[in-house]
């Protein structure tokens, strides 16, 4: 795997790589230049900003947790089992990635809205309403972000050497023990990478959230929604909030990469 590590990389590859870095970094530099640093603290500590910040963290963490609980079993099924309609299920899990989020929001309304397929009986029986509630924002973020976890973990499960699992089983380990002590450690870097991607996607979610859960301060108005609204009137606040959003995710992703993926690749 590391045989070519000492080789000098081809110039074309380096140039293209550098262009990519500039392409990705330049908009962020633009944000940094646009920022009004003197008012940054007051912009970030306004009630609207603090509400949005808190809500974004809560909702994105919930979405990541739910994706792990419900996405991991599906990823395992897709990687390890054969069942009728598997291709359809696999396509279905990726669909939210290609669906425009606003359309995803409308689709969620049809399913979980107060008069939706499942939303109506739930509302009639329990009085629980997802729309205009924080639970709805979590639902929207989970819908959009979970595919990232499923495809990352499924790929890792498919790529790992199944013989380790066979050996563990032959030595008397039960299925759960094998999964916990052999499979999870072997795919841990992908699991963390998938969870990080899922979390980042959930953190930036806009379209499905505003369409399905609405835009209520302190309840469903997450950071991206607050940024979008601020952009129309108060650009300083919008840039400050965007910087907070970018800053938080950047720190977490760098930390994760160093801890989990860095050990593998560098």
């Amino acid at each position: 795997m590391r045989a070519g590590g000492r080789q000098k990389p081809p110039l074309t590859v380096v140039v293209l790589g550098a262009i990519t870095v500039v392409f990705l970094a330049l908009p962020l530099v633009g944000l940094l230049l646009k920022a009004s640093w003197s008012t940054l603290w007051t912009d970030l500590t306004s009630p609207v900003a603090l509400d949005a910040l808190r809500l974004s963290l809560v909702c994105s963490l919930w979405a990541t947790g739910l994706s792990l609980v419900f996405g991991l079993p599906l990823a395992w099924l897709l990687a390890r089992c054969t069942f009728p309609g598997k291709r359809v299920v696999r396509a279905l899990t990726i669909l939210p990635m290609v669906l425009p989020p606003v359309v995803g929001g409308v689709a969620l309304l049809l399913a979980f809205g107060r008069s939706g397929i499942l939303g109506r009986p739930i509302f009639a029986l329990t009085g629980v309403q997802f729309t205009f509630a924080t639970a709805g924002a979590v639902l929207a973020e989970t819908f959009v972000a979970m595919p990232f976890l499923i495809i990352t973990v499924e790929a890792a499960l498919l790529g790992m050497d199944v013989r380790f699992e066979d050996v563990a089983a032959s030595l008397g380990a039960g299925r759960w023990t094998t999964f916990r002590r052999v499979t999870v450690p072997l795919i841990s870097s992908s699991l963390v990478a998938g969870a990080a991607l899922t979390w980042a996607r959930a953190l930036g979610e806009f379209g499905a959230t505003i369409t399905f859960a609405g835009n209520i301060q302190g309840r469903t108005q997450t950071l991206p929604l607050a940024v979008y609204l601020a952009l129309q009137g108060n650009e300083n606040v919008a840039v400050a909030l965007s910087l907070a959003l970018v800053g938080i995710s950047f720190l977490v992703l760098v930390a994760l990469r160093g801890r989990w993926l860095g050990a593998v690749s560098s």
């Binding site: 309304l109 008069s115 205009f132 505003i210 399905f212 609405g214 835009n215 209520i216 129309q232 009137g233």
Partner: protein, 273 residues
């Protein structure tokens, strides 16, 4: 106050026709006496090319249908639209987004663009609009006016930076109605706000009369009395950076002309003055 989707108090269609005719006549007279351009006559060189029109989302239906007839009259021309909240559009234009004509749902966003020196000429008012409440079909919560809104679970309003949001705030203040922040969801523009009632779970929304006229069976309008209502004017202007001033002016003249006036009145806009 009436609660009726179809027959809400409004000028009858005959009256509408008379107004349309009068406005059309007055505009034709004005056009003949004041300017030599305008009017698609065969003597002027044929228009061609494409322009981008940034317009308030409350204009989306009228402008889209007007564009179809404009393009049919002027073969080879094509209009692209950028619909959004007037506040957001003004920001885009000032930030340098290429656009040829700007039509706003209030004076303030147009003034912002003018202050930035981005207008080719002074804006002209071409329509006015006022607000209306829309509720779920059949009005299950029995909403008869602004005073009933505080007891509703969630009311959809436009963001405060959009004219429909600013006007709704003014109307609510005037009616001394106080909505809790947790009972208000804010749509980025008037179409998104209306959709919260027609496809979403909001129980009521405050939108333009012109939006309320388009809901069909998906919602019901509840009139806001004149004494409480706010009227907004719609200014239009060609932008300084236009790539095709001739086509931009032709489109503006078309909106201000008889066809435009008729379409706007049919969509329940009020005449400019």
């Amino acid at each position: 106050m009436t609660i009726d989707s179809r027959s809400r108090p409004r000028i009858g269609s005959a009256g509408l026709g008379v107004i349309a005719l009068l406005s059309a006549l007055s505009l034709i007279v004005a056009a003949c006496s004041s300017s030599s351009t305008s009017a698609p006559t065969s003597t002027t060189p044929p228009l061609s090319g494409a322009i981008t029109v940034s317009a308030a989302s409350s204009l989306s239906k009228v402008f889209t249908s007007l564009a179809t007839s404009f393009e049919a009259v002027h073969h080879g021309t094509s209009l692209r639209f950028n619909f959004g909240s007037s506040g957001a559009l003004a920001t885009q234009i000032v930030e340098g987004a290429p656009s040829d004509v700007f039509a706003a749902a209030a004076a303030a966003p147009m003034a912002e663009v003018q202050a930035a020196g981005d207008l080719a000429e002074s804006p002209t008012t071409f329509a006015r609009n006022s607000l209306e409440i829309v509720v779920k079909p059949g009005n299950p919560l029995g909403i008869h006016g602004l005073g009933d809104l505080p007891r509703v679970h969630v009311v959809a309003l436009c963001v405060l930076t959009a004219p429909c949001g600013a006007n709704a705030a003014e109307v609510l203040t005037r009616a001394r109605v106080n909505l809790l922040p947790t009972g208000v969801t804010r749509g980025p523009d008037v179409d998104a706000t209306l959709a919260q009632v027609t496809t979403g779970d909001a129980d009521a929304a405050i939108v333009y009369v012109t939006n309320a006229a388009t809901v069909g069976t998906t919602a019901v309008g509840v009139a806001i009395p004149k004494s409480q209502n706010a009227v907004t004017s719609y200014p239009i202007a060609v932008l300084r950076t236009t790539s095709d001033p001739q086509l931009a002016r032709a489109w503006m003249a078309y909106v201000l002309g008889p066809v435009g006036v008729r379409a706007l009145l049919q969509a329940h806009f009020l005449p400019p003055s």
